[in-house]
């Protein structure tokens, strides 16, 4: 998945620990090879190669559930969470320091829109050639939950799974003490925590404007692009971290909060989930208590 996967847990036997870790790693690799858009044989690549083809692709149960989830998220986010929006990265090259022209953006913007996709489980049709779907916006959080589940099913109840910042704490330390989770400082050039959150049993996911971005004329343009305008988000959190029972829900909520731009904070408050938001001046807000 391109990011570091960490498994921290307590177990009474090394053989069992090795075996379960291997199961978890295998599952992470399985999901990567199935959904990565960088691998030719992945479901994502197969689907994207079929764009423009009226016959579409038949997908399996797991993919069906993931697509149904994406559909629900699209509807619950005022259509801002849109898994067809990935194609806009072709307009925005963050290494170039150049802002694309209006026509450039429009070329790709007309291929964006989950409402254009024909999804009737298990058949997925991308009617317009050049349309792409990308699971990258949420499959990593899903994978985090899948791995946490492997530990719980094996009756290992103390530990956490961390996949590059998407975390599922499936149990505290054996004495009941919480894990201390560091939140990345969104304006630091090195990996540095700006705050720590205590989690006993919950999942945490973050979204921010600092992962891929460019600054042009003192304006920041980041990799989170509004699928309706084709432009990167403005006036949003610098980063937001959300806590929920499932990492998938936490991640989707964090992403939607960013996409809601200046309405993000109110939207997040309304969900009832605990969160920590950091604005462009590194001021911390939110319902989570930090140390």
């Amino acid at each position: 998945m391109g990011s570091i996967c960490q498994l921290k847990f307590y177990c009474h036997s090394k053989e069992i620990a090795d075996r379960i870790s291997q199961d978890a790693i295998n599952e992470a690799l399985r999901l990567e090879s199935k959904y990565s858009r960088y691998l030719d044989n992945s479901i994502t690549s197969q689907i994207n190669r079929s764009s423009g083809n009226k016959n579409g692709v038949i997908v399996d149960e797991e993919t069906t559930a993931l697509l149904n989830y994406a559909d629900t998220a699209y509807q619950q986010s005022n259509e801002l969470f849109d898994i067809t929006s990935g194609v806009l990265r072709k307009a925005w090259d963050f290494t170039s320091n150049n802002i694309p022209t209006k026509n450039n953006i429009l070329t790709y913007l007309k291929l964006v829109g989950w409402h254009n996709i024909i999804w009737q489980a298990p058949k997925l049709i991308l009617p317009y050639a050049g349309t792409e779907i990308d699971f990258g916006g949420y499959v990593k959080e899903y994978a985090t939950d899948v791995l946490a589940r492997i530990f719980l099913d094996s009756k290992l109840e103390f530990g956490l799974v961390s996949m590059g910042g998407d975390i599922n704490v499936f149990g505290p330390h054996p004495d009941g003490k919480p894990w201390q989770i560091g939140i990345q400082d969104p304006r630091s050039e090195v990996k540095k925590a700006i705050a720590y959150i205590n989690i006993t049993k919950a999942a945490l996911a973050s979204s921010g404007d600092y992962e891929r971005f460019m600054i042009v004329d003192e304006q920041r343009y980041c990799h989170i692009i509004n699928p309706k305008t084709g432009w990167p988000i403005q006036n949003s959190f610098a980063s937001v971290s959300v806590v929920a029972e499932q990492c998938l829900i936490a991640g989707t909520s964090a992403t939607i909060a960013m996409l809601m731009e200046h309405n993000g904070k109110a939207w997040l408050e309304n969900t009832g989930l605990d969160y920590l938001g950091i604005n462009a001046s590194n001021a911390i807000t939110g319902t989570l208590s930090v140390n």
Binding site: T72, V243, A244, L248, G272
Partner: protein, 371 residues
């Protein structure tokens, strides 16, 4: 974490539940056949010597709706045919009472439904169960609450307590084998049951649990299909159980032993001892042989014919002084999400001359499916 999420989160969560990582449900089905041995032909005065043959279907759904909520549904359906002892009689005066049986055309169906909901908070489980059982001549409604508290870091591992109530209605007017001077209309029976138990961890390989339960029954407690049966309309019973589990590491086998002492104010005292050896032949194959011993004393008003005086009377073999042995084997085959089960058991009882004491075989096949 706040617990009141808005509709957005609820919509996302219920959509997520369809993904393999999140749902934890099991559906189970068992078919069983229960067959009693015939009464020896020479020992039946009139009626059929063919005893009960019962087909039982059990269905169970268990669903973990979230980390905090579980739901369960149990449906059991049984179809019974065969004759049962109506009363005892000694026409040849040889001192050994014979049986007067009902005819073999008794056919009865029973359906039993139970629904339960569990709420889990901070290692404590609260369960509410509602049940309803219906057959031609009998209806029972029940409700129960169970509380189980688990401890993380101590020798005392758990405390369990519960209360349940049952309200039953008996309406046996459709049978000619009725009790002679009783019950021409509906009768009722109510029961209240309480229990308290605790479990301890002895060491990494063994645990023990003990429970004390108290039950009070009131109402029509007589068996309406036994000719001269007349029992008190109140009964108090106590049961004390001890369960022990020990893992034999080298054999990859768990020894399971349960003991129960029972006593009631009708004069019945009993001891029950059951042992199983849950043996892991491999990750996917389990052999579980089991053995049970049971022994009870007779109820104060239990008598065989010849002396039917007294306020209370019963010649029901189930209230006599007897003992019973049973042995069985269960085999489980486990695959990724399905477990197949097959089992059989033989039960024999003895200890007095009452021909109503049963011997029976049971056979079960079943399947558990996780999704």
């Amino acid at each position: 974490m706040k617990t009141n999420k808005n509709t957005v989160i609820l919509a996302l969560t219920s959509s997520a539940m369809a993904l393999p990582a999140y749902s934890n449900n099991t559906i189970s089905y068992r078919y069983s056949n229960y067959q009693e041995d015939d009464v020896p032909e020479g020992r039946v005065v009139t009626g059929s010597n063919k005893r009960y043959d019962i087909d039982i279907h059990q269905f169970r759904l268990l669903s973990e709706l979230s980390d905090n909520y579980k739901f369960g549904l149990d449906i059991a359906q049984e179809t019974l045919s065969g004759a049962s002892p109506w009363y005892t009689s000694d026409p040849d005066n040889d001192g050994n009472p014979d049986l007067v049986m009902s005819s073999a055309s008794i056919k009865d169906e029973r359906t039993d439904v139970n629904i339960s909901g569990t709420y889990i908070n901070d290692k404590t489980n609260y369960t509410l169960t509602l049940g309803s059982s219906t057959e031609d001549d009998y209806q029972a409604q029940s409700a129960g609450i169970d509380i189980a508290k688990n401890f993380r870091n101590r020798t005392l591992d758990s405390i369990n307590a519960g209360l349940s109530l049952s309200a039953d209605t008996i309406d046996p007017t459709n049978s000619i084998f009725l009790n002679q001077d009783r019950l021409t209309e509906e009768a009722e029976k109510d029961s209240l049951s309480l229990y308290l138990g605790a479990g301890w961890i002895i060491n990494k390989l063994s645990t023990i649990r003990s429970t004390l339960s108290y039950t009070k029954l009131e109402g029509y407690l007589t068996d309406p299909y036994k000719f001269l049966d007349r029992r008190p309309n109140i009964k108090t019973q106590w049961a004390w159980t001890v369960k022990y589990r020990y893992f034999l590491t080298k054999l990859s086998t768990a020894l399971q032993t349960n003991y129960r002492y029972y006593t009631d104010d009708w004069g019945v005292d009993s001891h029950t001892l059951e042992t199983s050896l849950y043996t892991n032949i491999s990750e996917s194959l389990k052999f579980i042989p089991s053995f049970r011993f049971y022994e009870q004393t007779a109820a104060d008003f239990y008598r065989l014919p010849g002396n039917t005086d007294g306020i209370f009377y019963s010649d029901d073999s189930r209230l006599s002084n007897f003992y019973a042995f049973s042995g069985g084997l269960t085999i489980k085959v486990k695959t990724d999400s399905i477990t197949y089960v097959i089992s059989g058991e033989r039960y024999v009882s003895d200890g007095n001359e009452h021909q109503g004491l049963v011997n029976y075989n049971t056979f079960t096949i079943g399947i558990d499916y996780s999704f």
